[in-house]
Amino acid sequence: QAKTYELAMITDIGDIDDKSFNQGTWEGLRDYAVEHKITHKYYKPTEASTDAYIAAIDLAVSSGAKVVVTPGFLFEEAIYIAQDKYPEIMFILLDGVPHDANYENFKTGPNVFPVVYAEEHCGYLAGYAAVVDGYRNLGYQGGMAVPAVCRYGFGYVQGANDAARDLGLAKGSIKIMYNYSGDFADTPASQTRAAGWYQAGTEVIFAAGGKVGNSVMSAAEAANKAVIGVDVDQSAESPTVISSAMKGLATMVQYGLKGFYAGKFPGGEAVTVGAESNAVSLAPFSTSKWKTFSQADYDALFAKLANGTIVPEKDLDRTNPTELKLDYVKLTFVE
């Protein structure tokens, strides 16, 4: 007879070590489970389809899962269906809200806790900090143009724009190269693109694309330039990483689990979490390499995001950043 596992995670197309949704989620779940000695396991679906995700959820449930954590918007349809199929099972859906295939019906049952991150917040922090720190030539290297990746980028350019304005720089004095690589892989192409940018004058690249970041770091090492990491504190991966824009995947997973074991599962409604709930941040100053950007600058900026003084644009309909209002930034969108 097979063992049972109380906490389950289903991976999306990525692996549990994708430096992104899957990894952050899994680490949060694992750490919580280990600490509280709860059986836990992750499952890989046979393919990236709604049916396959449901089959994986079925497998998890039949193997004893009480809480199923699903990272990524790819699970939106599957959870939409599964929440009714398994009313007694709790679902934590990161980065998405349950709906049907045509976005006609949205529903979040009491057993679903959907969390959407305000990546534009930490992207904003990164862009702002970079300009305050003296960088004028910036780059944004996204992976696939999925919503989270776009939000990071949007926040980043707006942060840079606002910092230039606040510093009293001339209009158009900040240059930003902006691109989605189209994959999440470390390839010679991504390394070359970054190397080209650095050669052409770019000083720092915010790399938000899983392993694409490794290629950017590699190019930065060769060119002696800087990188801003993503999702988790990536300072250990390369000396070129001056900071990272982080989102608390683990925090929210553990928040949900804590609630479940306390009998107060926070389901029924989607939450968007950003600075106000301390779910996003920059990497701590202890591991960062800012020259002039200070803890005080950071705290002040963070407070503004948290209390809603600053609300970065994050319109999901657009992957294209050129429609943002940017006076101080000369943006080159490499389509």
């Binding site: 692996d15 070590d17 390394q191 070359t192 190397a195 080209g196 052409a200 490794n214 290629s215 991966e237």
Partner: protein, 319 residues
């Protein structure tokens, strides 16, 4: 001008691994064994080499570490090429079968192994790149060449050219090379003059294993800071370069440089103002290396021919 030099240097990151792996494939195919397993072998070599660096980098760093890792990667590739040789030579199997099997096997295997042997069960093997050479003393002052080859480079680039020269000499100027080619053209003829076709084919495949394994490492070092069981189709591209290069060393060099340069342009166009201002979607830039290759092939393939016996299992008894 600096941008041009950068592009040429970047070209090496595409071209050198393709060159090394395609040369490896050349030895295998020239001996008569199709090697579609290059992709899998690269993965294996990349993994062993990078894992070695990962383990040793606390004790040592720089060129010596890389040199050792090169040998380890070669050994890794060699190891994986053996089953291909066994199936192709001893079992007289369809040579595409074992190649396909190895391509499927290697990524899964190295991820599985990485999860087993790494403390946190993580499949990514990370490494610190301490191998970059900013300038090669003296040589970097040579005009043009110095800027292209001897600045911001890796020893693997020179290794690539070294392997090219050795390969061309071995293939055309040595007894071994002549016998190897005979086995790929007409194994029965080779056999009838006392050449051990099986042995030559084993060696051919093993060389391809060594070089493809090395290629996996050479590909990864300059472009990432970790390795996770994938070389993203480079093995198949090397196969394409091998065919593009018509199974001949010098042509393989030109093919890999051509393809590498086109790839570089398509990746770095956004840093080149006049290309950027064309306002062409990136997908079209990404397509150009492949379309250009097709066009060049269309004009240059009339006389192209593969080694005659490639892909055919050698059976002494057959007529």
């Amino acid at each position: 001008m600096d941008m041009l030099y950068l592009l040429l240097r970047q070209t090496m990151y595409f071209s050198i691994p393709l060159l090394i792996v395609a040369l490896g494939g050349m030895f295998s195919e020239r001996s008569g064994v199709t090697n579609i397993a290059l992709e899998g072998i690269m993965v294996m070599g990349g993994f062993t080499g990078i894992y070695f660096i990962n383990q040793m980098q606390s004790q040592m760093s720089g060129q010596w570490l890389l040199v050792l890792a090169i040998f380890i990667a070669m050994a890794g590739g060699l190891l994986l090429s053996l089953p291909h040789a066994y199936a192709s030579v001893n079992l007289k199997a369809d040579q595409v079968i074992s190649g396909t099997a190895l391509n499927m096997f290697a990524p899964a295997f190295v991820i599985y192994i990485a999860r087993m042997i790494q403390p946190s069960g993580i499949a990514n093997v990370s490494f610190k790149n301490t191998f970059f050479i900013h300038e090669v003393p003296v040589l970097c002052d040579i005009p043009v060449i110095g800027d292209i080859l001897f600045k911001n480079t890796y020893i693997t680039t020179f290794l690539g050219f070294f392997i090219l020269i050795v390969s061309a000499i071995v293939l055309y100027k040595t007894r071994f090379g002549m016998r190897l080619r005979a086995c790929g053209e007409h194994p029965h003829a080779a056999d009838s003059v006392g050449i051990n076709v099986y042995k030559m084919r084993y060696i051919g495949v093993m060389i391809s294993g060594v070089l493809a394994g090395l290629g996996g490492l050479v590909l990864t070092v300059p472009i990432s800071t970790e390795f996770k069981g994938a070389v993203n189709g480079y093995g198949f591209l090397a196969l394409a370069v091998l065919i593009f290069g018509q199974w001949k060393p010098m042509r393989i060099l030109w093919a890999s440089l051509f393809f590498g340069f086109m790839q570089t342009i398509s990746a770095a166009y956004s840093a080149i103002p006049f290309l950027l201002n064309l306002n062409i979607p990136s997908e079209f830039f990404k397509m150009t290396p492949y379309i250009a290759t097709l066009i060049v092939l269309a004009f240059s393939s009339k006389s192209s021919k593969a080694p005659k016996a490639v892909g055919q299992p050698y059976d002494q008894g057959a007529r």
